[in-house]
């Protein structure tokens, strides 16, 4: 493990021009990185340079620009693979976002189920079970729920304790010999819980199920190594990790990608085509139909470079400190209740809360008037809201560029909310 050093937050902030943006007469305190992160100039510059200098479509062009674009795109793939410890760049599939990555998997099961010759690992039948958790973002719930409905499989889930942790004691009952796939969130987007993975992956292995992670909220914030995690797949997205929107990643083991039928079909994903039949290219091309997000891949590679330079252990340490500070300060606000773990252990710097008697929409509006940007609503995790008996929450989330002062401003602005609605 690399030695942890403190992030030079002032230097980092200088790379993010948007943090100078003023809302009214105050500089913005951006505490909404769990929704989307801001982008450093290095990312914006890399994309601009590529677009101005090397833009072309990839793969089939023999001209210089086409070759440069292909090299940039495949280079980005290799860069991302190295960042998550993937043994081969060919195990990295570029998608539009995490949602598409998970749909790609779910549709592999669905398409295989319709094809008697498909790999049996992906063929589902009534009685088979799919397992998620109660703390999923809708992106890792609805694709599986719909897959279950269409195939007759049963969707099961691991519940949440009152403290906002997974009910790990229920694992043996939830994951059974009938379980075919387990897909669970690494870091919960509403609760901020960092889930321990080993018990779930071990149980999945024991029953012969495939197992993977929605890593949308983990890859940007903590060191993630797919080999160490011992999972079969992970999904994450570029825009939450300092990169651009429009590009996401599915990493899956090579033998699984080989066995999976394609999701989207069309250009760039074929070997041969006649009017009657098509044979498909090898992964990852098989899953990248159509012109992919090329400039975005360049931006994502620059984001990965940026994070690597900071060091993911340092990023984790910085956020752990901010999480502790945020929890401690928020607990001093009258009528505020944290939804999720109340201690900064096994938790991210994403903190959801309710304010007694004030709807989150109103909280968010008053905070905006104080130039504090947070997210309000159900955060695409309605079952989590239901579990805690709340309709919506206010959520503050920190990243590499956030400071203690910004958390102070959040707390101060929550005092204003009290004044308006007191």
């Amino acid at each position: 493990m690399e030695a942890v050093t403190k992030l030079d937050v002032e230097a980092i902030r200088a790379d993010f021009p948007i943090l100078q943006r003023r809302i009214g007469d105050r500089a913005i305190a951006y505490l909404d990185s769990a929704a989307t992160s801001q982008k450093p100039v290095q990312v914006v510059e890399a994309m601009r340079r590529f677009t101005e200098h090397s833009n072309a479509n990839i793969s089939r062009s023999v001209h210089t620009l086409g070759a440069e674009a292909t090299e940039a795109y495949e280079g980005a793939r290799a860069r991302v693979a190295a960042f998550i410890g993937a043994p081969s760049a060919n195990e990295v599939v570029f998608t539009k976002n995490s949602t598409e990555s998970i749909n790609l998997l779910a549709y592999a099961f669905q398409n295989a189920t319709l094809d008697p010759h498909a790999d049996p690992r992906f063929r589902l039948a009534p009685g088979d079970e799919i397992v998620v958790t109660e703390m999923e973002h809708h992106a890792n719930l609805i694709p599986w729920q719909q897959l279950a409905q269409r195939t007759g499989a049963t969707l099961k889930w691991i519940g949440i304790t009152d403290h906002g942790r997974l009910d790990l004691e229920s694992i043996p009952e939830v994951i059974t010999e009938r379980t075919r796939v387990v897909s669970f969130t690494h870091v919960a987007n509403l609760l901020g819980t960092v889930n321990p993975t080993s018990q779930i992956t071990a149980r999945a292995r024991e029953v012969g199920a495939l197992v993977g992670l929605d890593a949308s909220q983990s890859v940007p914030h903590i060191p993630v190594n797919v080999a160490e995690l011992g999972v079969d797949f992970i999904a994450f997205t570029g825009h939450k990790m300092l990169g651009p929107t429009g590009i996401g990643v599915l990493w899956a083991k090579a033998d699984l990608l080989d066995a999976m039928p394609p999701f989207l079909t069309g250009g760039s994903m074929i070997k041969t085509v006649t009017m009657e039949r098509t044979t498909f290219a090898d992964a990852p091309a098989k899953f990248e139909a159509g012109t992919p997000p090329i400039a975005e891949s360049v931006g994502l590679a620059a984001a990965v470079d940026y994070l690597d330079k900071l060091g993911m252990e340092n990023v984790r340490a910085h956020e752990k400190e901010l999480a502790g500070y945020m929890l401690e300060r928020l607990e001093t606000v009258d009528g505020l209740a944290i939804v999720g773990p109340r201690v900064p252990i096994g938790r991210s710097a994403t903190v959801s809360f309710t304010l007694d008697g004030v709807h989150p929409h109103d909280v968010g509006q008053v905070l905006d008037a104080e130039a504090v940007a947070v997210r309000v609503g159900h955060h695409c995790a309605k079952p989590t809201c239901d579990r805690f008996g709340v309709n919506a929450t206010t959520r503050a989330s920190a990243y590499v560029y956030n400071t203690h002062e910004e958390i102070d401003r959040l707390v101060e602005a929550l005092g204003k909310v009290r004044k308006v609605f007191g």
């Binding site: 989150p360 929409h361 109103d362 008037a369 309605k382 809201c385 309709n391 308006v420």
Partner: protein, 150 residues
């Protein structure tokens, strides 16, 4: 941003003391509306008595804007003729779509003119219209016998 413009005294008063809240019998039309972006919800019932809105009753969860708007709407449409109620609906919808350009006619819209400031905040217009949408839908259902389910 001018918070006072959005959270006018009259809005906060309706929010804290909603008029006509609670679900009541009889009713001919019921509607359930949700705002999927924030999870605000309202169940609203309409009782039509001849040409008149005999009662509007509702149960809702939501932000100050959506709750106050439902309360103000109750005062405007309850006891009004169906035609007048529909005219208020059209007027209020127009005010909400005005992007801060309209002030609203206090003669007809009464307390609802306080929402003129809301129309500058596109994220909140939906909140202000939620109750009205439920009213419109419930009224349609009331005039379509046998269709009271949301």
């Amino acid at each position: 941003m001018n918070l006072d413009e959005l959270y006018q005294e009259v809005i906060l008063d309706h929010y804290k003391h909603p008029r006509g809240a609670g679900l009541r019998e009889p009713y001919e039309g019921e509607s359930h509306q949700v705002n999927p972006t924030c999870g605000d919800e309202i169940t609203l019932r309409v009782h039509v008595d001849g040409d008149t809105i005999g009662d509007v009753s509702y149960d809702n969860v939501g932000c100050s804007i959506s709750k106050a708007s439902a309360s103000v709407m109750y005062e405007l449409v309850n006891g009004a003729t169906v035609d007048d109620a529909l005219a208020r609906l059209a007027e209020f919808t127009e005010l909400m779509n005005s992007k801060g350009q309209a002030e609203g006619d206090e003669e007809t819209l009464e307390d609802a003119v306080a929402f003129a400031g809301v129309s500058k905040y596109p994220m909140r217009v939906k909140c202000a219209l939620l109750g009205w949408m439920a009213f419109k839908d419930a009224l349609v259902r009331a005039s379509t016998p046998g269709r009271t389910e949301a």
